[in-house]
Symmetry: C2
Subunit: 312 residues, 2 copies
Amino acid sequence: MFPPEATEIAIIGSGTIGLSFASLHLLTHPLCTVSIFDTRPDLSSYVHKYLPGYLGRTADADNIKYLDRLVIATTLKEAVESADIVQEQGPEALEFKLSIWPQIELYAPKTALFWSSTSGIPASKQTARMRDPSRLLVVHPFNPPHIMPVLELVPSPTTSQTVVDQTMSYWRALGRSPVLLRKECTGFVANRLAFALFREACSLVAQGVVSVEDLDELVTTSMGPRWAVAGPFKAYHAGGGEGGLTSFMEKIGGTVQGCWEQAEEDVVAQGIVVGGKWQAKVCKQADEAYGVVDTAERDEKTKRVLRAIGRG
Amino acid sequence: MFPPEATEIAIIGSGTIGLSFASLHLLTHPLCTVSIFDTRPDLSSYVHKYLPGYLGRTADADNIKYLDRLVIATTLKEAVESADIVQEQGPEALEFKLSIWPQIELYAPKTALFWSSTSGIPASKQTARMRDPSRLLVVHPFNPPHIMPVLELVPSPTTSQTVVDQTMSYWRALGRSPVLLRKECTGFVANRLAFALFREACSLVAQGVVSVEDLDELVTTSMGPRWAVAGPFKAYHAGGGEGGLTSFMEKIGGTVQGCWEQAEEDVVAQGIVVGGKWQAKVCKQADEAYGVVDTAERDEKTKRVLRAIGRG
């Protein structure tokens, strides 16, 4: 079932995450076939229009060898009935997840793995109406998954170890970077971390300390490159010299605590909640600074960074 | 005075930041001379032992052309008396800053710029005993400054615009990335942002959601590369498609707010303050995962990332 063996993958939901995952499987696993299912009536023409962009091959001839292994399914049953892996990226609504999994369970082979790309609905909630909840876990990507290597694997307490192990093996065989969370938690880890920094960023712009554009410039020339090479713990552990993170906290701890306390005060004083008065100001600055972002250029640059750190 | 003109720079304080800055000036400004002053008795042998490592040239012959432009000063007066720029990285203690600047002011030319590398003591506090406080601003690096392009320029309300402009021009001429803050604030911006994410990281490890090493792996394969290419605002603005950050907040705002609220609850529940019970666990995991970090390897990798984003 797993690379280098032939694998059948059913992609449920053909939005940007679905197409990105479809291209990832096709590009990195030469023995896979991918079936896509979505309820949109123009599914076939839509997929054939947009998927080549994700495959990144400009010549039609180069795309054919990938598209040859693609099936446009006309029913959910057709998509999943011989699948080894069913990967769901439908609407982010609990009712949708609750209703789709029992249907998938009905049609899919008994051994198929069930993955949800949700960014917020834990597996333990999605499985409520399934006969066998041990087959499902969250496999949360960082957008877009055909570029970004990370995958957060978030099993529920009832997900079987075998399912987790097979999921890990699959992604490792494809050269990706699966990270297993030990517990379900709100938002999972990547978004929790990113949103924590984002909140502080919004607070500092709201206070008029720095502009949106200057803050971004600052991050791309400091934390960004640093954390592409060493995560926050390793970076501060290195900063502590031979005494590691313990020394770092002894030497810099006062400054760290001062920043944490000031951040809390400022977030309250500025009313940094989603939809607060600060939001229009920040969004306006982003509009003025960036207009519509060229994501193709961003993705090319990201690939260069990933190659530079041995991840691309 | 400024590149490509000859510039004399006095480096006060010969710790790692001082040596890193000395090497940065020598390497990137061929017409500069650098004088170093520190009260340590072995200053000359110490600088000649460690500075070549920062210059990054392995052959002694290659280092000579840089070291030819270096002066080891035996007094503060000698270091600053013909300086165009005085760059201070002494102890992080207000009393030290308060006492050193009037001495520097006494000996340095009237037109010299005064820069403090402090990570936490704002210019408005450092200048209390100076005759002319308009000459001083904070120029805060991201360690190590000879590698990382960013410099946070943090003037006090009394710093003159000319001094700010000249400081900007100098760093731009050297190809660095100076970012001007509009107001003094606790911890300045880079550390505020990084510590906000770090707090959330500590909280998630303390809760047992993820290990130190897995969290670092996750950051180096997601936010790190992303933020090396586009800062948080630009990244989310792109994530919102044509509607930009406004659309992003409309679509994902609920998830963002949910994460912010959960983060606040968890930080309280886990007692995430510096010196809290969680700290030993996190530090132990860092020790076990990393031992002593090879910063030379980190710096080489960082240079590759910076070249990949056109900043190196």
